[in-house]
Symmetry: C2
Subunit: 391 residues, 2 copies
């Protein structure tokens, strides 16, 4: 009996908006996103808010209520916003997803209602996961509040939580309904979070766009001084490149290639080895320093370009070494080297690592030479010592 | 600052194969599905088996091992197959998904490995859900073993488990990697399951294909006598129409329309009201009888066609009434009528119900008239009484 061949195409659309003071009653952004959904009458919205944002912006909950009250008949707040812990803790506690699902059930949030998440990348990842599996997907609006989530994870299509001590063990690919980037939240960020978010912009610049790399390098001082115009440009360009990359080839990552994960195999492992005392972006900066040094020592990247990258990373205030990077290298299973096999397992199939052959141009390889890798770690450690940088 | 508009398309492909004795070492089907994945070397496979199938086919586990042993270097069984309860119980116990995820972790099943489910629709739904969320989706092969799963749910793109006492509260849209329909499993089915699976074929015929309806009507006796050729044709055509429907318009159901859910608003509720003592297909038969009668009484469907459908359903041995259908009609929240609002909530947005204006042609409406609905229930009850059918 003849086989049946199924084939169909699904188109995904969403808009990333940039604004300030999203919940100012005069701000049309949120209102217009809802209006464009084509439905008449009131829509239900349930909000989940990162506890860090809640603390840093005490007026936020009141502002949300006032904004809703100013759009009568359109914007129905279903229950009080749920405050959840920010940071990686949001992704380590399965009880939080459960609480959001309970709220979806209690408030009758359906596939045409909205689950809105306000927070950093971890909270967005966790709420996005709940939104993706409730009723096979309720509408999910993201309001990223950190540099990292506004320019990278928050504008993308992935969600996830950790399980079995593995990052993002549970998750799906589920495009958001919309992303609302509110720059005003950035003013409340801790200096470490402001800086850490720049790492993903450097990453995408290094592998794809030399001009963007030069922009970041030339604006290092402005970024260090927390000048908003420079940061807004950086976020807009980084978000744009992230979106273009997703749309480009393999949005739901069915292959083994993951070009945007430059520096990430070591970063993921270092986050775990430091018990998440490193921010993701701080770990990515170290991971990029490592893979850039490896690119140089293995003969791919010219010395001058290697030095340029290392100087720029340092100018931006990143530390390029932590003791965990050099720990247990003689027992690879307990060292950063284990990150390579874990990275392969998470991708599935063949190991694929991005290196640089020049600034603005990444190249994929399928193995890393252990001797050059150890040499690269030593180089970072030695420089760290010689700079006399304290931990 | 200018908004960024994201837009991309994803193409999904999979094949539904028809075979007998899938795990006969001479059968090339499974082997060729793996070979076509383009990878060299061994692939990991983890199997989950419906306890009902395991009991009815005691040789199955041995056959799987023998099949794997006959494909050295290609087919690596990761751990012993996990036996899980069949039927709705599989979807009501969150611990089962947890056990499968543990196995995925323990055996290092990655995005290029396979999670294979063998069983009825409920087990496929549950394993499919686990496969969809582990590592953001590991490859999922379905081996449906019932009429219903071979011609309908098992070839589609949905998975799910129940939560908060609601059917499919948790789930995703996630196309399988492949579907392997093995007709040999059908011989072991209980008579009720053989018959119940026919309901979805009648459903798709009634709303879309008068010729297929006539085929089913003319083959009622053969189907009752469990003649394989008639059933194989029925399954093949029903699966084909199901696949075409998915590919046609809105594969991931972003709208409020759900044409294939003819008869299902009442069916879902009756399954719950009968504490799942009704099979899904048995409930769908009652739901179709109800909505066909409503189509007639509300002036859409000619009397002769209404009678034709009722006769065909009865000829196939379906009961068209259960006492739960007429219970508590004066307190709608405790009656089948609640199924309408629950159906709307699950779809989201506007209520959309499929009715018939002729055999082979469905028409969507957005409300149901309560008087005609009660009259339809009474008609089914009266006929049930007059036929003197025992429960």
């Amino acid at each position: 009996m003849k086989s049946l061949q199924q084939s169909f195409t699904v188109t995904f659309n969403y808009t990333v908006h940039f604004t300030e003071n999203l919940f100012d009653p005069q701000n049309p952004t949120f209102r217009s996103v809802l209006r464009d959904d084509g439905h008449a009458g009131e829509r239900k919205l349930f909000f989940v808010v990162d506890s860090g944002v809640h603390q840093a912006t005490p007026a936020l909950l009141g502002d949300i209520h006032a904004y809703a009250a100013a759009q009568p008949g359109a914007f129905q707040l279903s229950g009080e916003p749920l405050i959840v812990p920010g940071g990686e803790g949001a992704k380590n506690d399965p009880g939080l997803v459960e609480r959001i699902l309970e709220a979806v059930n209690t408030h009758g949030i359906d596939r045409h209602s909205y689950l809105v998440a306000i927070g950093g990348g971890a909270v967005l990842d966790m709420v996005g996961y709940a939104a993706a599996v409730a009723h096979r997907g309720v509408r999910h609006i993201r309001v990223p509040t950190t540099v990292l989530s506004q320019n990278d994870s928050g504008v993308g299509v992935k969600n996830g939580i950790n399980a079995f001590n593995k990052k993002n063990f549970l998750g799906t690919f589920a495009p958001p309904y919309a992303v609302l980037n509110d720059f005003a939240f950035l003013r409340t960020l801790h200096e470490r979070d402001w800086r850490a978010g720049i790492a993903e912009a450097i990453k995408v610049a290094l592998i794809k766009d030399a001009a963007f790399y030069r922009f970041i390098k030339e604006n290092a001082k402005a970024l260090n001084h927390r000048e908003m115009p420079a940061m807004q440009q950086l976020i807009h360009r980084c978000a744009q490149m992230h979106l273009q990359h997703i749309a480009g080839r393999d949005p739901f990552e069915t292959g083994s290639s993951r070009p945007l994960d430059f520096g990430h195999w070591a970063a993921h492992k270092l986050e775990q080895l430091t018990h998440y005392s490193l921010r993701h972006g701080e770990a990515v900066a170290i991971g990029m320093a490592l893979d850039t040094t490896y690119s140089y020592l293995s003969g791919r990247l010219p010395r001058a370009e290697w030095k340029d990258v290392m100087d720029t990373l340092r100018d931006l205030g990143f530390k390029l070494f932590v003791p965990e990077l050099a720990q247990n290298l003689d027992t690879p299973a307990n060292s950063v080297l284990k990150g390579l096999s874990e990275f392969r397992e998470h991708l599935g199939g063949q190991l694929t690592i991005m290196l640089l052959d020049r600034i603005g141009h990444g190249v994929e390889v399928h193995e890393m030479d252990q001797a050059h890798l150890l040499q690269s770690i030593q180089a970072l450690e030695k420089e760290f010592m010689s700079l006399g940088v304290d931990e």
